[in-house]
Amino acid sequence: MRILLGNIWFANPALGIGVFALAVPLVIHLLTRRTPKNMIFPTLRFLLAARARQSRVYHLRHLLLMIARTVLLLLILLAFLRPSLIRGGAKQDPQAGRTTIILMDVSASMEYRYAGVTPLAQAKAAAMILLDHHNKADHFNLILMGATPDNSFDEPSDNLFLLRRDIQGASVTHEYPDINAAIAEAVSELRNVSGSRHICFISDFQRSNWASVDFSRIEPDTELLFMPVGPDREENCAITDVSIRPGSPTVGESIEIVCKAANYSDRPRRLPLELKFQDGRSFKQELAIEPQSTVSTSFHLRIHQSGQYEGHLTIPEDGLNVDNQRCFILTIAEKINVLVVSDEDPKQTQSGLRFLLNAINPFEETRYAAAVASVIRSGEVTAAALSSAQVVVLSDIQELSRKSGEALLKYLKDGGSAAYFHVGQAGSQNLDHLAAWSQGDLALPFKLTGQIDLSERKSHATWAQGNFDHEILRKFKESGELGDLKFQRFFSTQRVKQKGQVLLQYDDGNIAMAQTTVGGGTLLLCNFSCSLDCSDIARHTLFVPLVHEIIRGLRPSTGRRNAFLVGEPCYTTIPPVPEAAAVTFKNPAGEPVEGSLDKAQGGTAVFFARTKACGFYRVHVADQVAGSVAVNVDPLESNLERLDVSQLKELAKGPRTAFVAASDAAGMETLLEGKPLWHYLLLAAIGMLCLEQLMTLLLRS
């Protein structure tokens, strides 16, 4: 049993009975105090004078000696009580106990193996030590910091058995940890608890993960304990990125698989890099990487059969294996898939959609076509519907719902491309909404200030200026036919400086075509419509090549769009699935996982709600792999550079922070059990004994 007095624990309170020993000097003092005898003494004047010359200390020496001896005994007694100064300056209520939330990092970097030990193993041991130093009234909870915080209990509990089991069972998730979410969870759990509140961070404190953590939401009276784990110096090499050029290659097209590798160590490395496909074909290269730098290399190949190919890039194993390989899906399409989103009826003769579809595929059969189009309505725009499209064309659509708009923006941010032929009020509103929903990612190159309808005046506008250096217009530079096109209805525009790129302008100065970027994708804004009501562009012989140049120009140059990270939901499209077919979803280990199907036009979208491991998540239809998604670890996990204590202090900014390395057993003991004071007390007792002896000697002399 221990008792708490202020901030001091007494490990042996039973010895407090020795407090009676403190009375011994007093009793001796009283017992040896002699009753003075009266003595008539003539020379008292000299006694008085002598007494007056003596110091007050001399007169009080017996009292001082008694105090010194009492203090000596008190110090010895306190030393035997084994006091420890516990951390923190706040008042602690021993009845309420402490509530500690253990935030354990389970990101991929915690798997780094050094001398046979991983930081995760150290973290588990540290967490167990924390639990071992509990008191009766203490409560704990464990939050594993993954992509989403994973609590052991809904609220702090004293069930240490289950907590220990959860700690032992914790495993690395390879997910990029959302530390802010974990902190928010811990703060909410601590909000209503009484007693002292503690949050213990056990992590390798990787700079890439922790540099942007916001500690400000933690209550000021909450004590923070940082327990760094892992070796001080870590060396790691990793494949950090794979991209495919072009993004969605077609059959027979030259493909460049670009691999980026990093050397996060202080010595140059030469690494053999191997590209391997599921059918056994492999390609090898050797990389020479300078210290603390990255290098890119490419594999060039050409595939003559359409389909999905699962590819692996690997480098030799090192301390952290998860980033020594990177998987990707190489989808070889027969044609360029164009998704046309339009609310028009293609059967109408004036319909722009009709002309657009004919322009994309002018042939009756798809065999000869360079691109094939599938059409959905604006209300059907979803992530799944967009996932298989290489280029999205929006033409004469109604007002987009927020869900559709956000799916489109996500598609663009992930590297997709879209061309928007807008005219009419809905077009104006859609652009405004998209700009608003993108939260700054979409910067429109112009503002729509009003609609212009020249048809009433039997007039028209033409394109007067063009940026023929742009890929889309390059081929029309010499022809001069672009100026022959007549446009009756379009928007008047006002240029927004330094935003986007203007490709074409009307003769009245309004912008006819402009391009802007949204994240990794491109949005081409066409201030006209293909409908015959608005222009004669669809009738012109220039229309078909212009549409094809737009598709080619917008097609993503790299295939980074469908790169998924562990912890995120992932999706892909597979060919239409028969109704009766058995569909199973499997993780990279071949174990069934949750997934969902969304039948869309032209294919079926497959969703994996959450990914937990690197590799290929596959969907099986009638025991055949119908499609797969490559999931990789976040490249930020590969850089194992860590924040040091001073940087963490700067980040935490709170006065009530403590740092102790999990490998420092003595430091842990001191921090958790408090700083033992008995030896200081013993030292003080020895000092007091010396003082007492000195006083005795001095007074006797």
Binding site: R34, N38, M39, I40, F41, P42, R53
Partner: protein, 318 residues
Amino acid sequence: MRRSADIPVRKDAHKYLDERTLAFLKHLSFSARGAVDGAYTGKHKSFIKGHSQEFTDYREYMPGDDIRKIDWKVFGRTDRYMIKLCEQETVMTCYLLVDSSASMAFGGSWHEKYFGNQDISKYDYACYLSVAISYLLLQQGDRVSLTLFGSDIEQHLPAGSTFSHLSEILNALEVQKVRHRTSLCKVLQQASPLLKRRGILILISDLLDDPESLFSMLDMYLHRNFEVVLFHVLHKHELELPEMAAVNFIDSESGERLTSIPADIRQAYNRELQGYIDAIQSMAEARKIDYELMSTETPYPVALQGYIERRRRRCGFS
């Protein structure tokens, strides 16, 4: 005319008269250091030139001189009437001033009470000393006067030279009660008209008074050509604090109290007391006053003999 002890003193009948001590002192003599004033012929130099064997000087005869004093041999050689001057020898008067204030009672019965053995008080010591000196002086035919005082003169015996006078002295000393506070200056002032003839003033006291005032009063007697002797009597426990536990010291005269452990204060006390003694001694030396510190631990005959011998050496007697 020399008067011997026509009335013998009964030596065993008096407390302060010890036969063995008197026998010890029998061969000592107490002489005046300088000239004294006396009515009768004695052993001591007188201020008056007279008839004696001790030639001092010549002077011219002047009308009125006794012609019997003319030195005719000188007249024969020089044809001048020269008078031969010789020293007059006379008796000495010794004034004993004995302190009988309360502080002089220290020792004696009190010592027996605390330490279980007989001891002599300062007053007793002073009395023994007074009697011994009186005996010495009376034996050599000198006159002795006794004054007992506390805060005032309590008893005064005029000078006498007979052994019956010694008996009076003994009686006076024995009946005297020690009491009152010491007031040396006042007493010396009061005694001044009582001490008419020039002689030796022997003050036997513990001298617990202001030394400056004391010596300013003694200066008055020195001015009157008195020889002053100070016998500073202190008890051995005054000179060295007794080995006792806590003691509640009470001043014998003022009643003031101080509780202390003698061991704690001994060193400082010794310094204070020694400082006081040194001050008195230096003041006495400055005035050529004989100063003798006497501890009651030292037997008074020994102390007295020691003093007389030192005195003789100082005076150049062989």
